[in-house]
Amino acid sequence: MISLFKERRQKLTLFKSSRQKNIQHRISVPEGLYTRCPGCKQDFISEQVAANYYVCPGCGYHMRLTAQGRIKLIADKGSMRELNAGLITRENLDFPGYSEKLASLEAQTGLKEAVVTGVCTIDGISTVIGVMDSRFLMGSMGSVVGEKITRAVEYATKRRLPIVIFTASGGARMQEGIISLMQMAKTSNALARHSQAGLLYISVLTHPTTGGVTASFASLGDIILAEPGALIGFAGPRVIEQTIRQKLPEGFQRAEFLLEHGFLDMIVERQNLKSTLGSLLRLHSPSAILNRKKGGG
């Protein structure tokens, strides 16, 4: 038994050191010395978890990443230039407690909204990115999230750049009512134009992606990737259980389930995400496209 533990510790140390070599810079460490894995419920040293891109060193569970953590993981160091950081909510601020909630979340997370958008390079390729953060009102899409995504897509279309969007969202934001719902149409329409211009959109679905975000831009990638184990669906599991009055099968609405049903292209582990994106972007860059004779006939 003890030897088993020893062996495991050795493996972990090895794993950690090899990770550390690859990592260019530290991803922000959450408070507290230990982090409990939501998957295997074991405690791990927080620094170790952070060094492992917040993937559980024990069971491989992919923990939620903050937007900043995701950007550090994906964007080439120092390349990120944020776009439209100053956009603020002006819709339905008379909804009871809404503006207070927004203010307290800003203080808590340092984020102004549930998505950060910008332009960066990934393995040297210029790309527009959008990164959602589930700490901010469950990553819900209200007017600001819809507007920032739309502007990011329009920016990409105008400059003929690819776009990568990392989703993590409970769906459209209730507090802004119908305005939130309409953001689904707004973002999708912008993506239609990006697509018609022949440009690449990669959607990366992370835990959890549900509701109005699944039913709009998350599902519209030319290529759709997901992190292992991510919950992805239109209706939330609780709503479905209440409707059909049955327990849901094991693994329902997980990334692996979606892959099997044909709604994902690939499941990519976080440690391989940047290199996978880099390669896919490179395969879509002008230099990789076969030069063909112009004109008809």
Binding site: I179, M184, K186, A192, Q196, G212, I240
Partner: protein, 308 residues
Amino acid sequence: MPLKEAEDQIRLLDERLSKTEDREERQAILDEKNRILKDAYENLTSYDRVYLARKPTRPGVRDYIKNIFSEFYELHGDRLMRDDPAVIGGIASLDGIAVTVIGHCKGKNLEENIKCNFGMPNPEGYRKALRLMKQAEKFNRPIITFIDTPGAYPGIESEEHGQGEAIARNLLEMGSLQVPIISIVIGEGGSGGALAMSVADRIWMLENAVYSILSPEGFASILWKDASRAREAAELMKLTSFDLYQMGIADRLFAEPKGGLNQNSRSIYQRLKTALKAELEQLAKLNKRTLIEQRYKKYRRIGDCSPK
């Protein structure tokens, strides 16, 4: 008094009325009835409108199709999987002009409702709708959609078949369809399930129709963990036709008789028919590019949040 309660009281008064021959008593009952009706109809709350929008006696998509168009050929299936009876669609004639008509189909009784899944489409329904819209585009037919759904169905199969993807695809495609699209919310405009058939050049609403991000019950249960506070939620949600008009999302409203539409309401069909013909004539004057550009802008400006 909530409208539903008022209607229950009226039913009791009607019963009493049928049992008495005494003239004075009859008059008293009639006066009481009028007082209750007047009071209820003049102070409709948002939730009263939700109640009216859901009333099974309200005309459904088939009533509109039958009474507005001179011919209708229903077309079936998504060509991928099956035919979803929660969505009805086909080719119709609007006084000689060929149009494609699509709508959510609710039943008038339990049996019908089980057949059409209470107007809650599965992905196949949205894919059928999209197929018919693409067909409309090919043959240069305007598209008219009738919106009346509690929402897209939340079930195991609907998730397996990609409910989210089906809705998303419709949003993306409808934005660039090269023919005019007019959507009329005739009852419940329930969330993404309604939006997936109503990305349009014009959004019209009947007076007592509602359009919201989710049902007031769902809203209350998420926000307060208590679905019974739906009445309260409805007031907060700004879901009435007047709210949507004020927010610039609904372009035009159509008045309903006191107490809402029922099977005897005839004038609504003629008014809609006249309005549709006039509007299509206007939209036909736009070239394809302008049409699509204006539709893009219609949604683009919703939720402006530039710093002041």
